[in-house]
Amino acid sequence: MKNQSAFLSRLGSGIGSFTKKNVPLMILIFLMILFSFMSENFLTSRNIITLIRQVSFTGISAVGLMFVMISGGIDLSIGSQIVFTNVLLAIMMVDWKIPPGLAIPLILVVGTGLGTINGFLCIKLKIHPLIITLGTSAIFKGFGYIINRSRNIMGFPDSFRWFGQGYIWGIPVPIIVMVVVALIGSFILTRTYFGRKIFALGGNEEAARLAGVNVNKMKVYLFMICGFISAITAVLLLSRVFAGQTITGQGTEFDCLTAALLGGVSFKGGEGTVFGLITGIIIIGVLNNAMQLASFPDFSQTVVKGSVLLIAVAFDVYQKNRKAKETVAKVAA
């Protein structure tokens, strides 16, 4: 009898701590249940696939952002990197007639280059990446507009259609790419020495330096990774839209950041999991989708999105404060 109640209470507290640790997942489940009551179209496999495909582009970029964020940095230029690489890729294939097989690797190199620029500016100017990438964001986007010359670039080879519009075993290619990028990202973060160094950098930069981490080199690498991944997104988006426009990709960093914060990636660095991130991404997808199903006007959607970002930030701050309070208690060690 006594044993049984002890077991139950342990089970109870076990579930309690699980929910506490998995707040994002709980939010997602709650939203799913809520929306499935509100619309019978919501929980159909077709709708779910559509929903995930919509956010898969953001999801891919978010993995890059997460790398930077765990190290204690931030990249606000992701959207503009996509704008630039997207337009440049269109120009390469249409104006310069470079075949996709060559243009895609080239554009990945260019994307990595944009990241390198971010990284070098950060370590040379020693200014917070928030400011640096806000600046480069305007620059990258500006160059995107310049080379685009207000055109709607079209006329890609048909073989290019597969990346954004194709399927593998009935699953859209972008979703597959997101899963692959997420799995690789997760593996790097949790299993490799490189991943450890990312957490070390975000957890305590000075301790990382004294443990032999080349802090500057790491920072540049992380921005390079972020740029590389943004270029992947650009390829998929161009193939999906099948027209080179400067509008494609704009504001991606906004959703990436919201997803990351919702998913428990800390703004301060040193914390974050791919699982949480993907949960955050899907939460955004669910919200977008529900708003579309309910045919919310565009501008209201913007209001909701902004609110969600703020809630996500508040959530991050709340968790930090709770931790800080614990830390105050712990300082006495």
Partner: protein, 495 residues
């Protein structure tokens, strides 16, 4: 002599996941006494004082202050009752100046505006008692750990206090500053202030305390009048068994020169030259601000060298970054464990294995099996007290955090090890284990540089001692000349 009970704990209990940090503790503290609190790392001393300070909520029990019962204590309540705590880890605001920190929470002057002149003046008055030259305008983050500790003490005693709780206040201080602190404690005591004093240095307990209470594994063991007990008895009460204290003997004599430093200048140090041999433990002594930590940082490539030469095994080398130093198999245990040593949010295992994670990786993938092995080995060897190796370091007691830093530097298997205050905050039992480990390392040909403010340890462990004073080499002392006063004279520049 029936002194008044000013503070008493009744059946106080505090649980953490997997640990009973305080188990039904009852203790009385008397007016005007210096009451020492002893116990091994993780015994619950800090938890106890945090309960008194209201920094944590206890699960059960009552705290009585001046006869008044409090079921729930909060930081502001305890402060308003005249309780001031100097925590084991620092609580200063790094980006404010010393004087701002000292005067924080006090209203200075009459205007609502911040009168920085008045604040500086008041603060420097408080600092003057310590006879240590600290500029009150300096930012706290520019101070050394010891200087921060002095500011911390100054901050506490500048208030109108009834009970002063000091959690290992002497750990970062050297002999001279400890003396000054003792003088201040005596003055406070005469004013009727009760002092609760936590320390792992037993000789201090005998010098200043009136009574001493011992805790073990979260339980209250006993309280004794200090003059009715002795070191052996206290250790036995703390550890729960007999423990022989001694410095382990050395098997092998020092060998060839491992490290030679010629006219090293930079980071505040000037023209420092010395050698360390393989299998030698070189003690580095000096007062607070003498440039010992600065020297360690220079050797490790963490600060730029302006002038001078470093030779390893007779070959000149250039060390520009910690990464270079690590490549040359130099290891450093930093003095500032929270700022420079630990990743507080990460697990114990993660922390211990991080510096070697690269080495135990294949194709960049960390060999987690090996990682487990290494972490477990050091946890057992130096007795890191924790329910699990996956525990976040921030949840460990101060001494156990220090053990993690130590484990980290030992696991790196360096040829030359620089220890900056290796046993800071570590209990008697674990110290014995660490001394044995260091001796074994030296016997195996590792060169060890040991900076320590614990004179006994320095004399007991070193083969030779160099003394720094104001950034310069003040002298070198051979084993047969080891004598506390001589070293202190060199350190204070009066020799």
């Amino acid at each position: 002599m029936d002194a008044k009970i000013v503070l008493s704990l009744e059946k106080v209990t505090k649980k953490y996941p997997g640990v009973l940090a305080l188990n039904n503790i009852s203790i009385d503290f008397l007016e005007g006494e210096v009451h020492a609190l002893l116990g091994e790392n993780g015994a619950g001393k800090s938890t106890l004082i945090k309960a008194v300070a209201g920094a944590i909520d206890v699960d059960a029990g009552i705290i009585k202050i001046n006869g008044q019962e409090y079921h729930e204590m909060t930081p502001s309540l305890s402060r308003s009752l005249g309780i001031e705590v100097i925590y084991q880890e620092f609580n200063l605001v790094p980006t404010l100046s010393c004087s701002e920190n000292i005067m924080m929470g006090e209203s200075v002057g009459s205007s609502i505006f911040f009168n920085s002149k008045l604040v500086d003046a008041k603060a420097s008055e408080v600092l003057k008692q310590f006879a240590v030259a600290i500029d009150p305008k300096k930012l706290v983050q520019e101070l050394s750990i010891a200087e921060q500790q002095i500011v911390e003490i100054a901050k506490a005693v500048s208030k109108n206090i009834k009970i002063l709780i000091m959690d290992e206040p002497s750990a970062p201080l050297s002999v001279a500053e400890v003396e000054i602190m003792f003088d201040i404690i005596k003055q406070l005591k005469q004013k009727g202030v009760t002092i609760i004093y936590i320390s792992h240095r037993l000789e201090e307990v005998f010098r200043i305390s009136d009574r001493v209470s011992v805790m073990r594994d979260g339980c209250y063991v006993t309280t004794k009048n200090t003059k009715d007990t002795n070191r052996q008895e206290l250790i036995k009460l703390m550890v729960g068994r007999e423990l022989k204290e001694s410095y382990p003997g050395r098997k092998n004599p020092p060998g060839d020169i491992a490290l030679e430093v010629k006219n090293l200048t930079g980071n505040g140090d000037k023209n420092i030259s010395f050698v360390v041999r393989k299998g030698e433990i070189l003690g580095i002594s000096g007062l607070v601000g003498a440039g010992r930590t600065e020297l360690a940082m220079l050797l490790f490539g963490a600060e730029p060298i302006q002038k001078g030469e470093i030779l390893l095994n007779g070959q000149p080398v250039i060390i520009k970054s910690p990464l270079d130093a690590i490549k040359y198999k130099i290891g450093l245990l930093t003095e500032d464990r929270k700022g420079q040593g630990l990743f507080l949010e990460m697990s114990i295992k993660w922390n211990i294995s991080f510096p070697i994670a690269g080495r135990i990786s294949k194709y960049g993938i960390v060999n987690t099996k090996k990682e487990d092995e290494i972490a477990r080995k050091y946890k057992e060897r130096i007795n890191i007290k924790t329910p699990s190796l996956l525990q976040q370091v921030i949840n460990l007691s101060g001494g156990n955090q220090q053990k993690v830093v130590l484990a980290k530097s030992l696991a790196a298997e360096s040829d030359i090890l620089i220890f900056d205050e290796p046993t800071r905050g570590i209990d008697v039992g674990a110290k014995q284990e660490i001394y044995q480990l260091m001796t074994d390392l030296a016997d195996n040909g590792i060169a060890i540089l040991m900076i320590s403010s614990d004179m006994e340890e320095l004399l007991g462990m070193s083969d030779r001692i160099i003394v720094l004073c104001e950034g310069k080499l003040a002298g070198e002392v051979k084993k047969d000349q080891f004598e506390q006063h001589y070293i202190l004279d060199l350190a204070s520049g009066t020799h």
